[in-house]
Symmetry: C2
Subunit: 364 residues, 2 copies
């Protein structure tokens, strides 16, 4: 399939693949889509620089992009120590007690958490990324600040922004955003309450024909990709379905996560504020269930909630226990039932997409 | 567009239109779809009989169906007086206090509530409907009891059942259900948590090629209908979009409801148990908001919750105040922005559906 976006980005298929793994991102680009590397896990700009250098060497000259996490309004900022002081003791006690109850051992060594949620760190991601031949900067929290959009445009890099409501999408475009990612209720990670079937055409109509819209949420098969294009999207933004690829396990501690994802059905997710302070869809595990118990505190606002649970996430990862995994994933997890190479996932998507168009054509 | 369902039902378009209004249902059938009359509001079988007789005279011989509300397991049953005794006084006090606070005047005369949620009444609906030339019995609460399915089959009437999960759909088919309505999260009325984009292909794959699946939830335009068929559905099940038709206001007290629906956006719905005791998506109004206040009681189980709020619903209707309307509607309400005849809604759906297939065909 080809849409105008293919020509604009120099890609074969309008499939944008978001992933925290440079191995997956590179494989998506090599398979003809646009791999988009999530930067939030890189606390140190030099680490991100190294990952992007690796991508430059492993994408066969194919285009790729990056994804940052940056609110339009600059949030509470400060050192990790300043922010730590804002976290109530009762919240820390709940986390500690819960991990003990869940049988999650202490960390071998104290970690630093994920600082990518801080505005200053996200800005350093943009600075570093623009030194590489990136073709897209996407922002997971909507429109980035206008000066960041202008910075990207000076490098001829278009900016995409996630939106869960039509009014947000319009605001992003007013700020200078080039592409809107319509993130439906069923999507993994930060998400609103309007499902893709309603949200995608609503955003398409709101931003007009000149602004391409990518559909995000619920896409893991060719039928779903065809549905997204039927709804008016110019392409698909897929995140969850790469979490069970073979490449995802290269360089990331993925075994327990992948085991949990393979076993989960479409009902096994929950939309909750416990990951970052904003509503995000996660795999439902004993960890998320503990936070919905009557004695659990209300999650803190961003960026405090992420700092609160940062060590817990490391402890959970270190434990290797699939039943306590803390992982953003969409309802499409029910269709993620085998570990497969990225290229195979892409081939199946395209084949089923083509079959779907053939089937629809016979209805006329 | 034509699918195998068109031949099976003798309809022009695979558009199944659910509505509590016989005027709307007849208009849907006359426009080439299958009008499905919701029976739950008919307390008296003779009233339903009269409505169906009216439909027989106003559908130009086109096929139509009925929708009943019947759990597979026979629920608590009894007279209205027996059941009334099970409703806690605190719940009644909350309803009374809330209506007073919302400025909803008392009823001019005491009503009888809606008894259609009772199993015995739903069975009487089936008995009456089978004396008319109906072409479908749909059940809004999943599979009806097996003996009811067999009763329908003896009259050569197929049975459809709503499902919000693949495992429910499989169970319905095991019980003898002929057609599954995949009811996505975004739908109005009783609904589960899985959005259409994920639910429809999951149910299609679960029940296999011999069982047609209708997609319900989020369909109010031709793009959405095309998306539903791309996902593997054999047709669309549309409910909300008929609530703002001209025909809906004939014979039903619709003015305040329609005014509220026209003004609502896609974010203005809420999934709550306050309507029947089971999760259902309603228009968000001051009435639904009152039930999410900290002092509100937990909704009662079906059928008690509906009995509890039955008088309140009549008071709200009598008040004519759009800000307190209690009305099931899906997220598609954001696209319902004008009062139009059913035939116009249908024409637009079909035109946009055709345009969508033309657009998709160019992507190949």
């Amino acid at each position: 399939m080809r849409t105008a976006l293919c020509d604009r980005f120099g890609i074969e298929h309008p499939i944008f693949g978001f992933t925290p793994s440079e191995h997956v991102a590179a494989a998506i680009s090599r398979a003809g889509g646009l791999g988009v590397l999530g930067c939030v896990r890189f606390n140190d700009a030099a680490e991100l620089d190294a990952a992007l250098t690796w991508m430059d060497e492993h994408t066969d000259g194919r285009p790729y992009g990056v994804d940052v996490v940056m609110p339009a309004k600059i949030p509470t900022e400060g050192t990790a120590i300043d922010l730590d002081a804002l976290i109530p003791a009762g919240h820390r006690e709940f986390v500690e007690r819960t991990l003990t109850q869940l049988g999650v051992p202490p960390l071998d060594s104290h970690g630093t958490g994920v600082l990518g949620w801080l505005h200053s760190v996200a800005r350093s991601h943009v600075d570093v990324a623009l030194q590489h031949p990136i073709r897209l900067i996407a922002n997971a929290l909507g429109s980035p600040p206008v000066d960041v959009i202008e910075q990207a445009h000076r490098h001829d890099v278009p900016v995409a922004a996630l939106a869960g409501k039509a009014e947000h999408a319009r605001r992003h475009v007013d700020n200078g955003v080039d592409i809107v990612v319509a993130q439906g209720y069923e999507a993994g990670g930060h998400t609103g309450e309007i499902a893709s079937m309603v949200l995608v055409p609503e955003i398409v109509d709101a931003v007009g024909a000149d602004v391409p819209v990518l559909a995000a949420g619920g896409i893991g098969s060719g039928r779903q990709l065809a549905a997204a294009l039927a709804l008016g999207a110019s392409g698909g933004w897929l995140g969850s379905c790469w979490l069970t690829t073979a490449e995802y396990a290269v360089g990331l501690p993925a075994s327990a996560t992948q085991q949990a994802l393979l076993a989960a059905g479409s009902s096994d997710t929950v939309r909750t504020r416990i990951y970052t302070g904003k509503p995000a869809r996660l795999l439902k595990t004993r960890w998320t269930e503990a936070w919905s118990s009557p004695d659990a505190p209300e999650p803190l606002p961003m960026p405090l909630q992420n700092l609160l649970v940062a060590d817990a996430h490391q402890r959970i990862t270190q434990s290797g226990d699939p039943t306590v995994v803390s992982m953003p994933v969409g309802q499409i997890v029910g269709r993620m039932n085998a570990i497969r190479p990225v290229a195979d996932v892409m081939t199946d998507l395209l084949r089923e997409f083509d079959e779907t168009l053939t089937r629809l054509d016979k209805l006329r």
